[in-house]
Symmetry: C2
Subunit: 745 residues, 2 copies
């Protein structure tokens, strides 16, 4: 494979940046349809309560109110086994509220004020029930039951076994155990959940801020018992997803039902508080780790027990998501994992820039650092010794990685950070303001190819190109990246390419924009589609030029025999085509290998042990993402991931009052996001092994940069003050209290 690319790997501005920043981009909340109504959901004020009665008469009588629906009004629709939705434990509207903020009723009215007034007029008689917020409490036999079958999702833990951990611990010179915890975090997307639903006779169109329009198409077809061809889901511009928007949710169904019942378009748009109380979040996890290692640093056993807080409904098996980290980042012959995904009376957890890997990464990387210290081994050397090699891949199924430059990530990151010169043993930094250098590595299955993977490319008669791809552009440069791949493959300039995304009527499904997979999944499809189009064009040109099509190239708008400077114009060839040239491509899975993405982050911090303030000075982020397609985009993703990851490490924490079960900080004032003042210098390095599974050797990137800053910072703090940081976020209190904990670690 040639390393010489014309477009791929270069820096270009995001193709819709101007529209986004100038306000010209039409987001869902910019859509106003004639006669459109405003829908709003009535939410439970109680974390757990039975709805004993509900009176909507006054609300319905309010002028301008067009519909008020309670659970009994929506029994006609398919829902329970809706494809693509978690454990089918969530009703569309609840007659038992299982968290404070749960959907109890919904209304639609002519304006936003009127619909709020309607909600205020609904009289609900709640019978409060005992509730539980903490997942470890929820596992106790006497705990209030969130669902009748009990609080352990699936009724039993998920279990992983490889080799024998008992044997591993026997072989170990060091066995170290500790408990780690991570908080409940919000995506804090610029754009909260929002949709506009419209029915035209038997056909539903919904504009929805979604990472997976096709999943919602299938879901809505199921709900309304109509053909998928009668459901159109469109997501043109999106103000961020980060996992909150990866499947069809209740609000989309409610808007569609309201639109059906009123015969008018209906918008439902969450406000910020609703997005805190009733959208997904990163679920908190508690990890009990017990690892064994020999004196030389070789890991002999990994044992992990994970308790993940699913919230009131189980979107995904959260504990398993965390355990994947223990399973695959390091090579180890002996593994035992136990995962408990637990219902509590908190909002439904879900994906957030990955699912559970960041929680697991934090626990494992802090654990590894403390072990390195106890073994007297440099943390870099300890990782170098143990990271899963190319041949390790899936250690249970014995399938190698498709490519792996973890070693180079660690080495280059260490070099950039000045590790050899700066690193000192934990707790040896003098004075009250201590310096620390820490690191963490990352490996996960994200950024890998997945199915479906299908795309189309149209070549207009003037040689310009329209790319059609089902991928939602969540703000992560998906449009630009697809344009670059099409331009590279076709041999045309980048600026003649337009991209249509995420419209189920006219584009092809590439799955959700999630799992960091669209560069490779949609990228493979578009590369193949462009190659298909080029092949058709070259076939015509070959006839004109009396040569074999394999012998041709497209350069500067001319198609010519390779090496020749005489050819014919692309536009002249296109005039010979019987119709618009359309290329289509369907990507396929790489066989005999699994694909991971790899990273090593190094954090340099300054800890004021008197005030408790931690300042992150530098992050050195080395990423193996295969061949970089979109350099600006990759840098942008890395910057964004690091910044959000610092929030994970140091500021963000959605809190519930344990006495009332109510969230106390459902807003961006009290829930602390990182601000521009908290952001350190971010030094990015990309290591680019050509992966055989991706377009031009690419893999994905989006989730890994988020996963590693928190443990790297925790380890830098550990390095500075000599006390391991076992709980996130690392706050002033963490540092001040560490004086007491110091003795223990």
């Amino acid at each position: 494979m040639s390393n010489e690319f014309r477009v791929v790997g270069k820096r270009y501005p995001k193709m819709d940046a101007w529209e986004r920043v100038s306000g010209q981009a039409v987001y869902v909340s910019d859509i106003y349809l004639p006669g459109m109504l405003y829908g709003k959901i009535l939410r439970s004020p109680h974390p757990h309560a039975r709805v004993a009665g509900i009176d909507t008469e006054q609300a319905k009588a309010l002028p301008g109110v067009k519909a008020v629906l309670t659970p009994k009004d929506i029994t006609d629709f398919n829902w329970t086994k809706c494809p693509g939705r978690g454990h089918h434990d969530m009703p569309i509207l609840a007659d038992i509220a299982r968290y404070a903020g749960e959907d109890i009723a919904v209304a639609a009215a002519v304006d936003e004020e009127r619909v709020q007034e309607a909600l205020d007029l609904i009289k609900v008689e709640y019978q409060p029930l005992p509730f539980v917020i903490d997942p470890e409490e929820a596992l106790k036999p006497a705990a209030p039951k969130v669902h009748p079958a009990g609080n352990l999702v699936g009724g039993k833990p998920v279990v992983l076994n490889r080799g024998s951990v008992e044997k591993g611990f026997q072989e170990a010179d060091l066995v170290y155990e500790a408990r780690y915890s991570t908080p409940l975090l919000q995506h804090a997307t610029a754009e909260p959940r929002v949709c506009v639903a419209r029915w035209e006779r038997g056909r539903l169109t919904i504009w929805d801020s979604l990472q997976h329009t096709f999943g919602t198409q299938a879901g809505l077809a199921y709900v309304f018992k109509i053909p998928m061809s009668k459901v159109r889901v469109v997501c043109d511009y999106m103000g961020g997803g980060f996992g909150d928007k990866i499947q069809m949710e209740r609000y989309s169904v409610l808007a569609s039902i309201l639109a059906l019942k009123t015969g008018r378009p209906v918008r439902i748009e969450f406000d910020r508080e609703e997005n805190f109380l009733a959208a997904h979040h990163r679920y908190p996890a508690v990890c009990y780790l017990k690892y064994g290692a020999r004196k030389d640093g070789t890991l002999t056993a990994i044992q992990a027990k994970v308790v993940a807080n699913a919230g009131a409904y189980c979107h995904l098996d959260g504990a398993m998501g965390v355990l994947e980290t223990m399973k695959g980042v390091y090579r180890c012959p002996n593994l035992k994992g136990e995962g408990y995904t637990v219902y509590t009376n908190t909002p439904e957890g879900g994906a957030m820039r990955c699912v559970g890997h960041p929680q697991g990464q934090f626990a494992q990387e802090v654990h590894m650092d403390i072990m390195a210290h106890k073994l007297g081994i440099d943390p870099v050397a300890f990782r170098m010794k143990n990271f899963a090699r190319l041949e390790d891949g899936d250690q249970d199924k014995k399938i190698p990685f498709s490519s792996n430059a973890m070693e180079e990530c660690i080495r280059k990151g260490a070099e950039a950070s000045g590790w050899a010169q700066k690193w000192q043993k934990p707790g040896t930094s003098p004075g009250p303001v201590k310096k620390g250098l820490g690191m963490a590595i990352h490996s996960c299955r994200h950024g890998a190819m997945a199915l479906p993977s299908a795309g189309m490319v149209k070549v207009n008669s003037d040689g310009t190109v329209n790319v059609l791809i089902g991928t939602a552009d969540v703000g992560g440069n998906q449009k630009s990246t697809m344009a670059m791949i099409a331009a590279e493959e076709l041999g045309v300039p980048l600026d003649v390419i337009s991209v249509t995304t995420a419209d189920t009527d006219v584009t092809l499904d590439t799955g959700s924009t999630a799992g960091s997979k669209q560069t490779i999944t949609a990228g493979n499809a578009i590369k193949l589609a462009a190659a298909d189009a080029k092949n058709q064009i070259f076939a015509i040109a070959a006839g004109e030029l009396k040569t074999a099509k394999e012998n041709l190239e497209l350069v500067g708008g001319q198609i010519r025999p390779k090496g020749s400077d005489k050819g014919i114009a692309l536009t002249a060839v296109l005039r010979k085509a019987p119709a618009t040239i359309t290329g289509r491509g369907t990507g396929s899975l790489l066989k005999g290998a699994i694909t991971h993405c790899f990273a090593a982050h190094f954090a340099e911090v300054e800890v004021d042990t008197l005030s408790g303030k931690v300042r992150v000075l530098n992050i050195y982020a080395a990423h193996d993402l295969g061949k970089v397609i979109n350099l600006s985009g990759a840098e942008n993703q890395t910057d964004g991931g690091v910044i959000q990851g610092i929030g994970f490490g140091m500021t963000e924490n959605q809190l519930f009052d344990l006495d009332t079960g109510i969230c106390v900080n459902p807003n961006l004032v009290d829930y602390k996001l990182v601000t521009i003042k908290d952001i350190p210098e971010i030094h990015i390095q990309f290591i680019e092994p050509l992966d055989p599974g991706g377009p031009y050797g690419a893999r994905g990137l989006s989730e890994p940069p988020y996963s590693v800053p928190a443990p790297a910072i925790a380890n830098a703090v550990y390095n500075a003050i000599g006390v391991g940081m076992t709980d996130l976020p690392i706050t002033i209190r963490s540092i001040l209290e560490s004086r007491n904990r110091g003795a223990k670690a």
Copy 2:
């Protein structure tokens, strides 16, 4: 080819009928964009005048006015040689008005009232010039020149020659000469011209009521010097085109320029008067015919001189459009044609349910009837003797027709009308209220395959289907017809199909919805695309069923070996597909044959010779359109064509005052459309030879039903009163004046 179809040839409701009649369909004038401005064009009150000065200061100063443009403000744009536009003789805005209604300036403002006020405030100093309205007058040397190069378009007539008309006249027993004329007619679409243009950075989106979105995409890319991929033209619903909307027009360019200059979306919507004064129309034609025939009825010579009134700008070579009729309906070894397309100070002529064939049909069919009478031959027998046979086709290039059931059209139409029983010699009907039976035949190149022809079909995972086709649905059942073809070919129910039309971003070009060609042009593409999709599905099923894919059929949602009742569900097969199945198809031209559509109409009338009133009692319409795909659609087209054709024959006539050059009836009160009371019983017969060039043997239909009612009615009146009707429309005055003309004919 099997004659047994599951869907094709049956009656189904138009798939978007409900949306259209319920007001839910979003036409262009239903599109309101945030910040949208209203554009309006200032029109010349003079038929010919130089603009000596133009003062826009007051208009610009009016609050709410965002732009006022005159010719000097728009010189930056490419226009002159714009592809797809007539003779490049029209400016975007004129500094010499060449017809009353011509575009002089344009303004945009925040609402419709304000923009009208702005136009009222523009001060234009006109220097009136001499003008000419009548095309025969315009050919005289002393006539005012509409353009500097003279009034004859192209500077010389178009000439046709086959054999020797001199020889033909020598061989003839009868040589008959006469003059015929047809009026200026309006499409009178339910929806006048309208567009909304919006720029997002370098990208233009325009919603435009257009029969050819892709042509306008190319045109706007040319005007603004941008890639075609940066121009999106969308036409979802349209309220009729009939030829008025077959290419990019000035209003679309002006709206796009205003949107560019103001940075806001701009709508320009014609009112009814503007559509009369400044949109296309059917151009008037004068035909001088001189035909020769032997005693036995054999035509020996056809000589025609046509003067067509192009209007102030030449959209198309109108005289040639008329002469095509003389060239091809009848077999004749000797032909001479001379065509004069002439500029006058009237609005630009254009296509209207065909181009010039109806004008030619009227003249020729009336001429043929009078000759039949002079020869003492029954008009049916005279046509039977002379119509161009299957082998005749293009009589100059010696290429046969692809199929031809003209004989059956004539025979079945005659039978249905009771010709043998009812027909009497012209002028023999007794009493003051006379009965008449007349006929006319039609043959034209419309309804034939054309390029480009490309389409796509997506099969969703639930076995339902989205059809993507560039064809504009002008109200002529195009969506329904494509759905029927896809359903037939794939073997799925019709109601699981959705159709997306006419969006240049996401569909493929099938040329304009004009020339009655989309059933065959888009139809071939969709049939091939559906077959391609089915082939991919069967390939997967064949693997599952361990049989050859050629051996499979899809019946009732099951794929099974032919003849077997055991198979697997389509949805199960689709789950095995790596991605959404996408079929694509590109139709191609039939070789070695030309395709025409054929018809014979029979009209029965009652003429009150005292009052001059003509009542059409019955129209018997026999059409050869190849295999009928969409039976309800074809009946609907035929009814619509007959009704509009009766208007052509009897009521419609846009008139200009010869002293002022001003149109005197630019509205639907004074311009008389046929009403429900004027419509006779319409008896339709379809003759369906399977044409080798079309999907399932289909050809097109739309234009022919319009072309024949007028001459059939004229001949029925001739039959009733014995006086030939040489000028349209046939009014009370025509009948009353015929008493004087009776002696001559």
